[in-house]
């Protein structure tokens, strides 16, 4: 038989008597169970000393915690503490009463945000004197400088606890709830939105004095609630609507992952983190959730509390669980609940008093005003899509586009709605699946979105007159500079993924403003930060790389831009897959870069891939597809395929007019591009018909100084010159040159473009000297910026040959033609410029070639030009004429075989 624990412990401690010692030793040696107990005893004994100490300390720790010193108050005990501070029960000296003292913690006292919350709460409460709202007595500072609020001490239970503890019936709960609505409606009338209504912020106290009935609530004696007084607490997140000038702004999103408020009670507009959208109807929504909880014992959604984005997904997209599926509630009550919980604020009760009135109508057995949603409405589901960077960048670019000045608050539209005529059940199920699938990524995105938006919103939306010399209007440039200063001050330190996006967007905004020097460091830093991020943030790096590449492209650092696009593409392909829309966008941009570099074959290859991806990802009739078609058309034009270019431009225009609408800068751009191509084809009237409205729209939308206006002026001028309106054309060319020189500089390819076309006009007017000078200047710029083999450079050289020929300098013309022809290896065989150069060679009578062109060669030139430019084009006609003369000369060897000199 095994010894008992006491015997074993005595034995192990050497306290057992001699007689038993040997017997136990022998037994233990052969008994596994006793060995186990002995091991436990040994481990226990090792614990004795620390346990003795712990017990001693526990006994010593009956000393009450140190209470703060507050003039005029005697703190009695701590009621609780949280992230912001501590709440004490205290005795006020004058008047003598018990109060609740809410004191900001010392560490938070130095944090402006929390200080503002405190001030905000005091200001909100100062407006409110209602028996249903815990009153403020005083605000001040403690001896050590911390803010405090002295408030009415409410001794009660939370709304849900009170209902449960008193086993209130549904009708009693509705009565109590109506009183809460009454207090909320009062606050709204006084211009205060609570923004954090929930059962825990409503305490219900039992008053001995039943006279404290809130006004306006129909008291039902049968309800047995005459002693229950609900009090709304905690206005720390309140928004004050009227006379808010001196109230400090309070953000509802201040820390990453911390949208202030309580997730299950947040309305869709609140959970999206957009303070500007929140109004009294957001409180109505929270009241709806509270009533739902009071009546059914559960929340209308299973909201994941630890994942904000997932919660937002549920709140914004899922239909609430029908109340009658959760608890036996009346149909009218269900209607009231569903109306209060409408996702669209316009479809909710428009005020807390309307909600209260309907509740009271129900209690009085009167018909309620709310009606169940129609079947049609039930079938419509809102599908919201966050477009983090697009929304963010678009907002900035839009600001810049409307004139560079922002006034007052910005409304941020973050979600777009699509009505889906699917059955509610199917849509809900699909959305849920989608939500689950994308949960992790969506969480990150929403947190980032919230932080980024709040950061920029702080910069943009609250112009601070103290920082703007008293001005309300602030230029975008000032906001950008201030934002950079905030970043340099470490505002987002430790949030590299957010900082990367913010810097990339800032850099892009500077780029859009044309300040490349300011853009460069922001974009470079964004890329540096992005490269330190883990793989799941590669989207941010891709975003930054894309923006930096575009900047380098605009600065003419094409090789750098190419490398950056390449890096972004590799990352995007790995991170999102080779067929992803982001890959399509990058390929589109890379196509533009290669086009600019004159690598037309490379540009065409990547742009065609981009088009395939975009067709798959976005669908055919989308602005993305229209953009890539426009770019492919530009490439085709430079490859000499003018008819192909025309078809592509027309397809792009057709799509974009539907996708973006007629009045869009991109639509105008495609129109003017098409006009330029039609001018190439010498179809002047068609070109003018497009170029004129394109110019007007571009001026209107982008302002008169935008470089795109210069391009539009140039293209209209060309068309007018073709139509014979040379004076007007010349004036427009002069205007274009002036604008492009001013906005882009006199070494920019766009400036060369205008120069070159103006030179052609001058040539047609017989002013060969000025034409030569202008074309030479254009050629110089093109050689420097685009290289010798670029189609535009070759075109300038060809035109110089034409000018030399017109001046009668046939040697020079012939030499230029030969040089240029020798440099056309990079052009496609079918490029019209090749044929035009060959034609020029046949028409330039130099001794080496005079009379040497065979009719067959001229026939080939003629046919090639006819294919490329059409039979009516002047070059085609010249070729036809030359062919005819050569053929005639060949058939009559005695006649003069020298071709006629080319007319310009």
């Amino acid at each position: 038989m095994c010894p008992e624990v006491d015997e074993l412990e005595r034995w192990a401690s050497g306290e057992s008597d001699v007689a038993s010692r040997r017997g136990i030793a022998v037994h233990v040696a052969g008994c596994d169970a006793c060995s186990t107990v002995l091991r436990e005893i040994a481990e226990n004994l090792r614990l004795v000393a620390p346990v003795r100490q712990a017990l001693k300390r526990a006994a010593d720790e009956v000393v009450p915690p140190e209470l703060p010193r507050v003039d005029g108050y005697e703190p009695v005990r701590e009621l609780g503490r949280g992230g912001m501070g501590v709440v004490y029960e205290a005795r006020q000296e004058h008047p003598r009463r018990r109060v609740a003292l809410k004191i900001l913690s010392a560490a938070r006292a130095s944090d402006g945000h929390y200080e503002r919350l405190f001030i905000r709460e005091a200001q909100a409460l100062a407006r409110l004197k209602h028996p249903g709202i815990a009153a403020i007595h005083e605000a001040g500072r403690t001896a050590d400088g911390r803010s405090y609020l002295a408030m009415e001490l409410v001794e009660g239970r939370t709304l849900t606890d009170y209902c449960a503890a008193n086993a209130l019936t549904a009708r009693q709960r509705l009565h109590l709830f109506a009183r809460v609505c009454d207090a909320v409606a009062y606050a709204h009338q006084r211009g205060v939105i609570h923004r954090d209504l929930k059962p825990a912020n409503v305490l219900v106290a039992d008053r001995d004095d039943a006279a404290h009935e809130p006004d306006g609530v129909r008291n039902d004696p049968k309800a047995g609630l005459s002693r229950a007084v609900p009090k709304i607490l905690d206005f720390g997140l309140a928004r004050i609507l009227q006379g808010d000038d001196d109230a400090p702004p309070v953000s509802i999103v201040t820390e990453i992952g911390h949208v202030f408020g309580t997730v299950p009670y947040m309305s869709p507009e609140h959970v999206r983190g957009n303070a500007a959208e929140i109004d009294v109807r957001s409180d109505v929504y929270a009241l709806g959730v509270m009533l739902y909880e009071l009546l059914t014992g559960r929340l209308p959604y299973d909201v994941p509390r630890d994942r904000l984005a997932a919660a937002a997904e549920v709140i914004c997209r899922q239909a609430p669980l029908p109340p009658r599926a959760a608890a036996p509630v009346d149909a009218d009550v269900e209607t009231i609940l569903l109306k209060a919980l409408e996702k669209d604020p316009d479809r909710r009760y428009q005020s807390a008093s309307s909600l209260k009135d309907d509740v009271e109508r129900y209690l009085a057995n009167e018909p309620i005003l709310a009606r169940p949603p129609t079947l049609r409405y039930q079938l419509r589901k809102l599908v919201a899509r966050h477009r983090v960077e697009c929304a963010f960048a678009a907002a900035l670019v839009a600001l810049i586009g409307v004139g560079g000045v922002v006034s007052g608050r910005l409304a941020w539209r973050l979600a777009e709605e699509k009505a889906a005529a699917e059955s509610a059940k199917d849509a809900q199920s699909k959305l849920r699946e989608s939500a689950e699938r994308n949960e992790a990524r969506a969480t990150q995105e929403a947190l980032k979105l919230a932080t980024v938006l709040q950061f920029v919103q702080d910069m943009l939306a609250s112009p601070d007159p103290t920082r703007n010399d008293g001005r309300i209007d602030v230029t975008v440039r000032e906001i950008l500079d201030r934002t950079v200063a905030e970043l340099e001050g470490g505002s987002l330190s430790g949030l590299a993924h957010v900082e990367a996006v913010v810097r990339a967007t800032l850099g892009n905004a500077y780029r859009a403003l044309g300040d490349h020097a300011a853009a460069e460091p922001q974009l470079r830093r964004a890329v540096e930060l992005g490269r330190t991020l883990p793989a799941d943030h590669h989207k941010d790096l891709v975003f930054a790389l894309n923006k930096l590449a575009r900047l380098r492209q605009e600065r003419g650092d094409y090789a750098d831009a190419d490398a950056l696009f390449g890096e972004a593409l590799d990352l995007a392909r790995t991170a999102f897959g080779p067929e992803h829309a982001e890959v399509g966008k990058l390929l589109n941009n890379l196509g533009v870069l290669r086009w600019l570099r004159g690598d037309l074959a490379g540009a065409a290859a990547v742009s065609e891939t981009a088009l395939e991806i975009r067709l798959r990802c976005h669908g055919e009739r989308t602005s993305e597809v229209a953009t890539t078609l426009n770019n492919l058309a530009l490439i085709a034009r430079d490859r000499g395929d003018l008819r192909g270019a025309e078809a592509l431009f027309r397809r792009s225009l057709d799509i974009d007019r539907t996708a973006r609408g007629e009045r869009h800068p991109n639509v105008a751009k495609t129109m003017t591009n098409l006009a330029a191509t039609l001018a190439d084809l010498e179809r002047a009237d068609e070109a003018i018909a497009l170029a004129e409205p394109a110019l007007a729209t571009t001026r209107d939308l982008l302002g008169p100084r935008h470089p795109d206006v210069g391009t539009c002026l140039n293209n209209l001028a060309r068309a007018l010159a073709l139509a014979g309106e040379t004076s007007r054309a010349d004036a427009l060319f002069a205007e274009a040159l002036d604008l492009v020189r001013r906005e882009c500089g006199n070494d920019h390819p766009s400036y060369a473009l205008v120069l070159s076309h103006r030179a052609s006009l001058l040539l047609s007017l017989g002013n060969t000297a000025e034409a030569r000078s202008a074309q030479q200047e254009a050629l110089g710029i093109r050689r420097d910026r685009l290289g010798d083999a670029h189609p535009h450079t070759l075109h300038s050289r060809y035109l110089l040959a034409r000018i030399a020929s017109a001046e009668g300098d046939t040697d020079r013309a012939a030499a230029l033609v030969e040089e240029t022809l020798a440099a056309t290896d990079g052009l496609p065989e079918t490029h019209w410029l090749r044929s035009a150069l060959k034609l020029e060679r046949t028409l330039t009578p130099v001794p080496a070639t005079a009379g040497g062109t065979a009719p067959a060669e001229l026939l080939r030139i003629h046919e090639a030009l006819e294919r490329a430019l059409g039979p009516a084009h002047s070059l085609t006609r010249r070729a036809a004429e030359a062919h005819r003369r050569v053929r005639e000369a060949a058939s009559n060897p005695h006649s003069d075989s020298e071709p006629a000199p080319a007319s310009p």
């Binding site: 624990v5 017990l55 992230g83 029960e89 609740a100 001490l153 305490l203 905690d234 997730v263 509390r305």
Partner: protein, 217 residues
């Protein structure tokens, strides 16, 4: 073994016009549970449990590092707030170190910051030189480990007190304070064997509870 923890009965009534606290509950919540619930930023109960469990060792540690009781409370509050925020951001990875080490890092730097703030203000007690008395990080770390262990042990004892019959726990407590089982038996009027049994059972249970905490901490 009697599990008589009744959280509701032990709650303090709600008196305050704020809603972030409801008073301590004595449910045995493992640290894993606390951390799991803490991910929900709106879960007031998780925040409360976090502070219930970890505030004391941080305060004790801060006092040992020279802060006043009030400043130590603030430091504890800041430490736990910072921890909760970083935890929600996913910064705490159990694979990279124990929770106690993580909290130590935050607490130690918070206390240093608090002391720097105080050092810039006119000293209440001119004879005290914070900086001369500041233990280095290694010493501070030893201090922290001792406070941490004590605090966890206190939690385990508080829990064990609820699980055992009062007589059993009293016998164990007496055995720890008084020492000799014979004396305890005489004092409480119970058999010596009962004292040994109580001591054995309670200590064993405390070890088990401590091991449950060890899983995460």
């Amino acid at each position: 073994m009697r599990y008589n923890a009744d959280g509701d009965a032990l709650r303090r009534p709600l008196l305050s016009p704020t809603a972030f606290f409801e008073g301590p509950t004595l449910d045995w919540i493992t640290t894993s549970t606390i951390l799991h619930d803490l991910r929900d930023a709106s879960n007031d109960a998780a925040w409360r449990r976090l502070t219930d469990r970890f505030r004391r060792p941080i305060i004790a540690f801060a006092i040992r590092l020279g802060l006043s009781a009030a400043d130590a409370e603030d430091a504890a509050q800041e430490t736990l707030t910072a921890f909760a925020e970083s935890f929600r951001r996913g910064a705490y990875d159990p694979a990279r170190g124990r929770l106690s080490r993580w909290l130590f890092g935050i607490a130690y730097h918070q206390i240093l910051r608090e002391r720097r703030c105080r050092a810039q203000q006119p000293p209440d007690r001119p004879e005290t030189s914070f900086w001369n008395n500041l233990p280095d990080e290694r010493e501070a770390s030893r201090c922290w480990d001792a406070e941490w262990e004590q605090a966890l042990l206190e939690d385990c004892l508080a829990r064990a007190r609820l699980e055992f019959e009062p007589e059993t726990f009293r016998a164990f407590e007496c055995a720890m304070r008084v020492g000799g089982a014979d004396d305890v038996a005489r004092q409480l009027g119970i058999p010596v064997k009962a004292v040994y049994n109580a001591k054995h059972r309670v200590l064993k249970r405390v070890r088990e509870l401590r091991a449950e905490l060890e899983e995460v901490v």
